[in-house]
């Protein structure tokens, strides 16, 4: 859905720091959402940790830099990192160009898919959350 200039596809799950999660068979694909991408501006660097890294929900596991800010990526669920998008090493701006497609960041093998229920998913919830954040991050 489109909310005040931000595109947030309804079929995705969202982590509150504005990362999306998509279910693909029994793995999860993760990336930065359009709101965070727009707020961050030009992404200049994405750190891709080694495959096999254990992920603990809410704990940081990777880093993303934009505008001299080194941001952290927090695990949306417990599980294991199975792949990072290596194209981002050469071209981190893919996140700015196509955050839900070519700019995907990580593939995760979740320990328990039930944990997806802790993420934001119902269209009404997505809308409420994004509207609140638009208000919160309004740049005067």
């Amino acid at each position: 859905m489109e909310i005040q200039g931000y595109n947030l596809p309804e079929d995705l799950y969202y982590e509150k720091n504005h990362y999306w999660v998509k279910v693909e068979g029994d793995i999860l694909v993760m990336g930065m959402d359009d709101f965070a991408q727009q707020l961050a501006g030009d992404i200049v660097f994405v750190q891709i940790p080694f495959a096999g890294k254990k992920l603990k929900v809410g704990k940081k596991f990777a880093q993303v830099e934009s505008g001299k800010w080194l941001g952290k990526v927090y695990a949306p669920v417990n599980g294991e990192l199975i792949e990072g998008n290596e194209a981002l090493e050469a071209e981190p701006s893919l996140i700015n160009q196509d955050c839900y497609g070519q700019g995907w960041m990580f593939k995760i093998k979740p320990a328990d898919t039930d944990e997806l229920n802790n993420l934001i998913h119902a269209p009404a919830d997505i809308e409420k959350w994004v509207l609140e954040d638009i208000e919160k991050y309004k740049q005067d």
Binding site: N17, V44, K68, L70, P92
Partner: protein, 543 residues
Amino acid sequence: MEKIIPPNDLNDTLPTWRLLDTPPMTAAENMALDEALLEVKGEGKSPNTIRFLQFSPRTVLVGFHQALHEEIRRDYCQANRIDINRRITGGGAIFFDENQLGWEVFCDKAFFNAAIPNARLFKTLCEPVVAALARLNLEAEFRPRNDIEIDGRKISGTGGTESGKAFMFQGTMLVDFDVDTMLRALKIPVEKLKAKEIDSVKDRVTCLKWELGEAPALADIKQAIKRGFAKCLNIRLETGGLNAEEQKRFAKKRPRFRSLGWIDSVKPRFQKRETVRSAYKATAGMVRFTLAVNLPQKRLKDVYITGDFLSFPGRALYDLEARLRGAPLDRQHLHGMIRDYFDQGHIKIPGLGFEDFVKPLDQCLEKTEMAKFGIPLEHCNLISVVNGSFEEVIQKNPSVLLLPYCAKLTGCDLRYEKGCRVCGEDCCSIGPAWSMGRHMQMQVTSIVSFEDLWDELMRMKASGVAAYIGCCCQPFFAKHADDFKASGLPGILLDIDNTTCYDLDQAKQAYAGQFERQTSLNLELLETVLQIRVESCGNEVAA
């Protein structure tokens, strides 16, 4: 009815932050302490904090993801006892000597009611320092995204990161500034550290000493910054030390921050930084573009626009540079940005317009295109093209090679003539170039004056020559770029070595064919380009 708080009680209701004034430390210690403080704060086990930091010995610090090799002159740093380390925050490489003061904010994300850093947060965190500068009688401004400047000159650069529940934000305050050492320690894209270039760097930064005539006492600067934060963030600051958890973490982290595993952890596969430059002589003055680019990522990392023109307002040029920094390396996009900047009236330069800026820019971009042919970028810098891209000119199979008389032996009887008898190996670089050209079945001729060049170009055009390769010094090309263009003939011009008539202020004599020094052609470069021509078009004589 509004509640009125009596002034005396006001202080008690303000949130209290800790002021951590740490003594000068090594780079590894300062970096380890940054990470320790941030982690502990991120776990909610310490108070919100403002820290002052200083370095001893002086140090260069690269940003978290930068490759040392691309940013720092290691040999120079090692020989001059300058520490080298890596920050835990983003941004570019900086030189931090004993005179600089760093300030840092460690605080709960909740304090700013934000989990994601954003432009407003950066502004909020820079404003206290702007206020501090005001206390020192300096009128500073925040420049998005995160610099503080005085009249367009940067006095404080900032950067940040986060961990768990906390943000960390840090900046430098330039108290006094040793530009010469900085230029030698960092790989700043300036040519040969000529006085002029040192000046152009000096134009873009400033420090308390330059602004005030003398540097204020350190204690006064700290006091001003402390007050700035207290006032702008509406907090009370109480001096304190490290808590037990922070001390433990700090001790544990130090060895890692001293190790090469940390300092040298980024390899320059994608974090490349290379420099291209080009100059264009417009009627109203010379315009030089120096770009630091990351080719794998197609990004413009840094840009310097210099020249002998005057722009208004004084800061307009630096603002334009700031806008271009970080932009995608895309011709259309960059043109659009520069055009808008001129169209919107942000900059006024008597006699110069948008077109005079994009000409040298395009030459720079053209150089990055040449890199695709496997020519190292430092060599691309020595190549200029006219009436087409490098690729287009090569495709036309240049059939003429033009060589300047100034490279001939000064005593040669043919110096001011069109020919060369390839008399020997060592006497001048014309002989070998001549053979190379002949070997490639090119028509080779030497140029003896500007008039002769023009006649030659016209003759070539009339006889159906599709393209040429020539050698000349870059000042000559910068000055005559429009003439080369007007001839309508596509060409590739290679820079020559040694002191040119321009350096010696003898351009007039050279123009008339009376320059008496001997220059030298860049034979290696000529060979590379001729080889590319053969590979694209064939035409080598079987030996």
